[in-house]
Each structure stands twice: as structure tokens, then as C-alpha cells.
């Protein structure tokens, strides 16, 4: 009977479709989902990176004539990286150009707005955060995307590690994490330690923001057509976006490696508030800064971070 079984199974197997059909299909599919994947992954990545907020209230369009008219397809997205309690650890206002390039401005989370600290607004109401950012930066926020910072260890792993450069060896006295000087590839817990460290850095949270930016750029550099699909699948579930945002349509603009240009919103001297020291923002300066960054005239940042 065994021979008969062999013959029967072989006859069944013989029915298979032509492998050339499958090859053609694989080839086709490889190209199609690329845009979407890159888009979602980039969002995630960007959200991961850092914190920046940008200006211009929607309501006061007539009051801000200096803002460049934007091509219909360019969109400003607020990328919000949260801790596990929905407090904002990283805030990035990013302009996604029609060609898929991204210009991002990180907003320090300790900016003081009235009686509130910027990093607490999202938890109260995402709209409160976006409208505050619009006001601070005189820039319209078209959409927002939220991701837990803790996802970035896994994301880094998915792309085979993210390369960053540290200018001098650091020690995090809180966690014991150490980073040697020079280029290094981070993933998993190491990536999270890198993104979380504030203690032991010369500029504290500002250095952390730069780390977020460096990580974001390193991550963007690692996204390609071979890992984009897997990334989108893994990461897509962990990203929340505002209702009514057609992310699929938005993602169409990404057709190749993503270029990201990062900067940090300038702040004024710390002011003392009932909640302790908060950072101040000069609205006119912020507006000018964001316009310059979004307009593509900003200075490139150092490759290595503290």
C-alpha cells in the first residue's frame, strides 16, 4: 500500500500551479506594498524619535501670512512618543513632503504652556496637545501619530539594528547602561536605554532629544524594500493615528529610502512656574525656526551625539 500512497501523493503534488506564475506574483507584490510600508514605518520611526512641536493655529491662518503656501500634498504630522502611562517622552513636528522627504523639529517635552507642561497635554486630550503645538509654532498640524517609546527596541531589532554615533563614552547612573564613544549598532533593550538616558549627559533632556533624532535618522536609513513589509506589519498595530486620517493615501508618497532632516525647537531661558522650572518658547522665534527648517534651509546636525 505504501507505494500506492507515494504515487497518489505524487499525483496530487503534480497538480501544482506553474512556479513562473508565482514568481511573477511575488515580483509584483514586492513592489506594490512598498509605498505603504515605508509610510507607516516612517511614521512609527519618526514618532519614535523625538519631540518637536510646530506652530500656527489653524484658526489664525489669516494672521500668519508669512507661512509659505504649501503644496496640497505636503502634510504636517505631530509624532508623539509616549511612556507607558501616556505621558509624552518625545514630540516631533514633522513635515512630510510630497517627494517623501521628512523635515522634523523636536519639541522639548518640558516646555511650559500656561500652567501646564507640554508632556502632560496628550494624556488629557490629544487635541489639546495638537492645538497647543500649533499655537507655539504657528504651524498647522494636519495629523498626529502616537507610539509607545518602548516599541523602539523591537523596531530596531526588526531592521537588524540602528546605527548611532556617540561622541564620548557615557554612563547612565540610573540604569548602569554604558555607551562607548563611536559608532554602534543598537537594538532591543540597548536601543531603549539609549533613547531613555537623560542622566549623565551634559545637556540632559536636550541630549536625549538629539539621541532620539539620531536614532530616527539611523532607523530611516535602515528601512528598505526588504524589511519594510515586515516593519509595517509589526509596527502598524502599535501606532495610533487621529481619526479620519487616510494613512494609506498618505503613505503613497514613500517610494524609496526616506530622508529625514532633524532639528530642535529653540527655547528661551527656563522660567520658574508653580510646577518648578519649565522651558519657555518665543513664538516669533519658533515660527521663524520652523519655517526655516520646513523650508529646507536648516543647518545639518552633527552626526555624533552625546
Amino acid at each position: 500500500m505504501n507505494d500506492l500512497i507515494r504515487q497518489a501523493i505524487a499525483a496530487e503534488a503534480e497538480e501544482r500551479v506553474d512556479s513562473r506564475t508565482v514568481l511573477a506574483e511575488l515580483h509584483k507584490r514586492k513592489k506594490k506594498p512598498f509605498g505603504l510600508i515605508i509610510g507607516v514605518a516612517t511614521l512609527t520611526v519618526a514618532a519614535a524619535a523625538a519631540a518637536v512641536i510646530i506652530p500656527t493655529t489653524i484658526k489664525k491662518t489669516d494672521a500668519s501670512p508669512a507661512v509659505q503656501p504649501v503644496p496640497a500634498t505636503a502634510q504636517n504630522v505631530l509624532l508623539i512618543g509616549t511612556d507607558n502611562n501616556d505621558y509624552t517622552d518625545s514630540l516631533v513636528l514633522a513635515r512630510f513632503e510630497a517627494d517623501g522627504s521628512v523635515r522634523a523639529v523636536s519639541l522639548p517635552r518640558d516646555i511650559q504652556v500656561g500652567d501646564e507642561r507640554l508632556n502632560r497635554l496628550f494624556r488629557q486630550d490629544p487635541k489639546k496637545l495638537t492645538s497647543t503645538v500649533e499655537q507655539l509654532t504657528s504651524t498647522k498640524v494636519d495629523h498626529y501619530a502616537v507610539i509607545k517609546m518602548s516599541e523602539f527596541g523591537r523596531i530596531a531589532q526588526l531592521v537588524g539594528g540602528v546605527e548611532v554615533c556617540v561622541s564620548a563614552a557615557t554612563v547612565d547612573v540610573q540604569t548602569g547602561a554604558t555607551f562607548p564613544a563611536g559608532s554602534q549598532t543598537l537594538e532591543g533593550d540597548r536601543a531603549l536605554q539609549f533613547l531613555r538616558q537623560r542622566m549623565g549627559l551634559p545637556m540632559g533632556d536636550f541630549d536625549r532629544i538629539k539621541r532620539h533624532q539620531a536614532f530616527l535618522a539611523g532607523l530611516a536609513a535602515k528601512i528598505n524594500k526588504d524589511n519594510a513589509l515586515a516593519l509595517a506589519g509589526e509596527v502598524g498595530r502599535s501606532v495610533r493615528v487621529d481619526e479620519g486620517w487616510d494613512v494609506l493615501a498618505f503613505a503613497q508618497r514613500f517610494q524609496g529610502p526616506v530622508k529625514i532632516f532633524t532639528a530642535t525647537l529653540p527655547i528661551t531661558d527656563p522660567g520658574v512656574t508653580p510646577n518648578g522650572q519649565g522651558l519657555g518658547v518665543d513664538q516669533a522665534q519658533a515660527k521663524q525656526f520652523v519655517e526655516a527648517q520646513f523650508g529646507g534651509t536648516a543647518q545639518p546636525q552633527d552626526r555624533c551625539v552625546n
Binding site: M1, N2, L4, I5, R6, Q7, A8, I9, A10, A11, E12, A13, E14, E15, R16, V17, S19, T21, V22, L23, E25, L26, R29, K30, G160, D226, N227, L229, A230
Partner: protein
């Protein structure tokens, strides 16, 4: 081994394997396509393994045995069990082709996991250990799955011979 090379070398064999375990060439095509898309994104890891083919075969098998394809598998079973009833009377029992088609129909209505074990043993010539790896179960489970499958097929075979004997 690079991903493209792997596909060039193994795609036809994977399609044959998937068609044999699913008894549905279109479902097999879907599964193989999806699995290869997924495998491609993890290829750095899979390609470095001792036996990438075994791993990909495991992905194909898991995909088929997963809940997603339960409905599709049932529909095929129903169709094939109808076929199984008719095959003996459709052709000369002495004809080797008819014998084989009857066996094919009986294999198609086996429980999915038993059929997968059977294909791995009789088509892919896998050892118990390799089958256990692909199915993600113990070797003792592999042996019991195989022996149950063979028991069922033998019982059918006996019944069929007896029936045909009466008719002839």
C-alpha cells in the same frame, strides 16, 4: 544562500509540497506566496540556518494548519469525499490509474495534520524527527499521526477491495 537563489531552487518543490498537503493548488499557491513574502523579510536569519528549506516548509505547514484555512480545508474535504465515493465505480478496478485516484481521494479526506505527516514521510522522505520539527510536535505524536492515517487508509483499502470483489 540568498533569498532569490532559494526561490529559484525550491519554489517548485514548495508548491508541490503545499499542493500535496492542501489538496488545492490555488490555496497552495496563496500559502506559498504569503510565506515567501514573510520569509524574505526575515531572510538574514533564515538564510543563515542549517536547513532553510525545512524552516520554510514549516512556515508553509503552520500556515495551512492554522485557523485561517480551516474553512477552506473543510470545503475541499467535502468535495473530495464526494469524489471518493464515485471513484471506484468510475473506472476499471484493475486500472492502476483508478487505484491511485481512489487513494488520492482517500488521502484528501484525512485530518489535515495526519495528511501533512503522511506527505512529509512518503513524499518528502522526512525522518520522524524532521516531521516533528515541521509539525512542531513530539516524535511520538508524529508516529501516532502516521499510524492513524495508515490505519484509516488500510481500512478503506480493505473495504474497497471487498466491495469490488463482490461486484466483479
Amino acid at each position: 544562500m540568498g533569498f532569490d537563489q532559494f526561490v529559484a531552487d525550491r519554489l517548485d518543490r514548495l508548491l508541490r509540497y503545499a499542493t500535496a498537503i492542501t489538496c488545492d493548488k490555488h490555496l497552495a499557491q496563496d500559502i506559498v506566496q504569503n510565506v515567501l513574502m514573510r520569509a524574505q523579510h526575515k531572510w538574514e536569519r533564515i538564510g543563515a540556518m542549517d536547513a532553510p528549506y525545512l524552516y520554510v516548509k514549516r512556515m508553509v505547514t503552520n500556515d495551512y494548519l492554522s485557523w485561517r484555512h480551516r474553512k477552506a480545508a473543510r470545503e475541499i474535504s467535502v468535495e473530495r469525499s464526494e469524489l471518493a465515493k464515485h471513484v471506484p465505480s468510475m473506472a476499471d478496478p484493475a486500472d492502476a490509474h483508478a487505484e491511485r485516484e481512489a487513494m488520492r481521494a482517500r488521502i484528501a479526506v484525512l485530518p489535515r495534520k495526519q495528511r501533512a505527516a503522511l506527505v512529509l514521510r512518503f513524499y518528502e522522505d522526512c525522518s520522524d524527527a524532521e516531521i516533528a520539527q515541521v509539525l512542531g510536535c513530539a516524535e511520538s505524536t508524529v508516529r501516532s499521526q502516521l499510524s492513524r492515517a495508515l490505519q484509516t487508509l488500510r481500512a478503506h483499502e480493505l473495504a474497497r477491495s471487498a466491495t469490488l470483489g463482490v461486484h466483479s
